[in-house]
Symmetry: C2
Subunit: 203 residues, 2 copies
Amino acid sequence: MLYPKTINDLIECYKKLPGIGEKTAERMALYSLELDQEIIDLFAQSLIDLKKNIKRCKKCNNLSQDDLCSICSNSNRNNKVICVVEEPKNVFQFEKIGTYHGLYHVLDGLICPLENKNPEDINLESLLDRIEKEKIEEVIIAVKPSIEGETTALYISKILEGKDIKISKIAHGVPIGADMDYVDALTLELALEERKDITSHAE
Amino acid sequence: MLYPKTINDLIECYKKLPGIGEKTAERMALYSLELDQEIIDLFAQSLIDLKKNIKRCKKCNNLSQDDLCSICSNSNRNNKVICVVEEPKNVFQFEKIGTYHGLYHVLDGLICPLENKNPEDINLESLLDRIEKEKIEEVIIAVKPSIEGETTALYISKILEGKDIKISKIAHGVPIGADMDYVDALTLELALEERKDITSHAE
């Protein structure tokens, strides 16, 4: 053992984090020695509290400190619209925009028959339950544009077929600020297909 | 606040680490939720213990859990040679090689008149004390090849001038495995100047 035990332990812990190798972990551990005591205390306490305090929202399956997450328990949200996402992280991505005021539903995965992930393996039944009970009027499917995402979107729209519910999918196309040189062919094809009329009519 | 408080706190703490921005910190915090409880416990405990347990070795100023670091207290080391380094990290870099068996001395900085860092601002006096008291025979200067490093090396060699002590400096040159295209001019110049004779003499 090269470093004193406490530093070594800390290096090993940092190494468990995604994308952190030996060198970065060492740098982080040595840097941690220089952090203010109050930051260290908050850091350790947050780690201890993490598993204790954070659970899933009983309604939408989002991360939450309470039984219902801050979105589900907010009476100002439009409770007739549900945005379906893959992971809790996606909820926070949409929340950051600040323009969506409906509810969410976290699937915790996507349908992927190749990996043996079937509809019953993800959080779909509770979505159908909610749509029924909460008299949902629109379901926005906001999963990633991959085979798994498309399969999941198709499955949800098939199941809801015939019911009086609007089902939509977020738009795919060229992202804002992208260099056209680096946009892949499939995205361009989709962007072309889903083009929008911007003709201004003189009369 | 978008995330539940505990996650938010953790994100803020991860963001204090070097090279960690908002996105990476978020990813790390969400990933931390998935870590095993024992890792989380060790992680929190190491952070708490860090400032409490880790001090500086009274002799060489290296990081240590005890009054003397594991190197200074090891009677098998060659206690007539001191390798002078800038930071504790450097000690561990040399220890990893495993071929150096002498002692170390951590300066905690380098002389840099431009930034008002003078000889008395770094851990130099204790080095001179040690050289005297411990009857050191060789001082190896292993600081980075920068203006500050060269100034510090020159200062140490000037002070020890006339004493019966061998003073050496680690070699500079083209690093092993480097692509010659990317080696800078100054390094090449040094490598040329300090070239080694490898002539094999037939007789």
